[in-house]
């Protein structure tokens, strides 16, 4: 049972445009969400996160939006740059008391930004 879903395996955008990566989750206990970026031959790196008490978090060109009622989050990259080309993983955790430290990842979306 896939608790974190990234339904688009790939996305291609033009340099300078907006990239929107989507993520859906099914577990209503999830209350903390993260995005990781992975380049080929490297490990994933943390990009941005959001707590369920917020609906938006911004860091430079990256903004994450959370819609709790829809169990949906999205990552916006504006403007997109060729160096943003990577695989993006959505991840979620349940920070409940006594909850185990298990981060659930989606399958990833490969973003290609064309010059």
């Amino acid at each position: 049972d896939q608790q974190v879903k990234q339904n688009s395996p790939s996305l291609s955008v033009q340099e300078g445009r907006i990239s929107i990566l989507n993520c859906d989750y099914t577990n209503s206990m999830f209350d903390y969400f993260l995005w990781y970026k992975k380049y080929p031959a490297e490990g994933p790196t943390f990009l941005i996160s959001i707590s369920s008490i917020k609906d938006k978090n911004e860091d430079g060109r990256f903004t994450v939006f959370l819609n709790k009622s829809a169990k949906h989050l999205s990552l916006h990259i504006v403007p997109s740059q060729p160096g943003d080309s990577a695989v993006y993983f959505c991840a979620a955790s349940a920070r409940i008391q006594g909850g185990s430290e298990k981060l659930v990842f989606g399958k990833g979306t490969k973003l290609t930004v064309n010059p």
Binding site: Q6, P9, Y32, L34, Y36, A41, E42, G43, P44, T45, F46, S49, F89, A91, S93, S100, E101, K102, L103, F105, G106, K107, G108
Partner: protein, 113 residues
């Protein structure tokens, strides 16, 4: 600069061999994790550890074991390697305060023939 180091970038082993994957972190992190990444399946948690000599099963622990004798080192052991364990293995560590912010190593691509 924070660092998680995995001992091998590429490994080729034969079916039935015992395989050790080593991971060392220099950030004094309490938590350490082993994931595998497979095409179309994303990152799946094998084992994690939140303290020395402590270990917890992840989602796919079958065929694997781990060892954490020192805080900075977390080893993944394939007791008898099989072809379905061919994968990219990623080690990560994190602090207890924000445990979800994982720092990953570069990965070990293991091929079992």
């Amino acid at each position: 600069d924070v660092k998680v180091t995995q001992s091998s970038r590429y490994l080729v082993k034969r079916t039935g061999e015992k395989v050790f994957l080593e991971c060392v972190q220099d950030m004094d992190h309490e938590n350490m994790f082993w994931y595998r990444q497979d095409p179309g399946l994303g990152l799946r948690l094998i084992y994690f550890s939140y303290d020395v000599k402590m270990k917890e099963k992840g989602d796919i622990p079958e065929g694997y074991s781990v060892s954490r004798e020192k805080k900075e080192r977390f080893s993944l052991i394939l007791e008898s390697a099989s072809t379905n364990q061919t994968s990219m293995y990623l080690c990560a560590s994190s602090n207890t305060g924000l445990w979800e912010k994982l720092f990953f190593g570069s990965g070990t691509q293991l091929s079992v023939l």
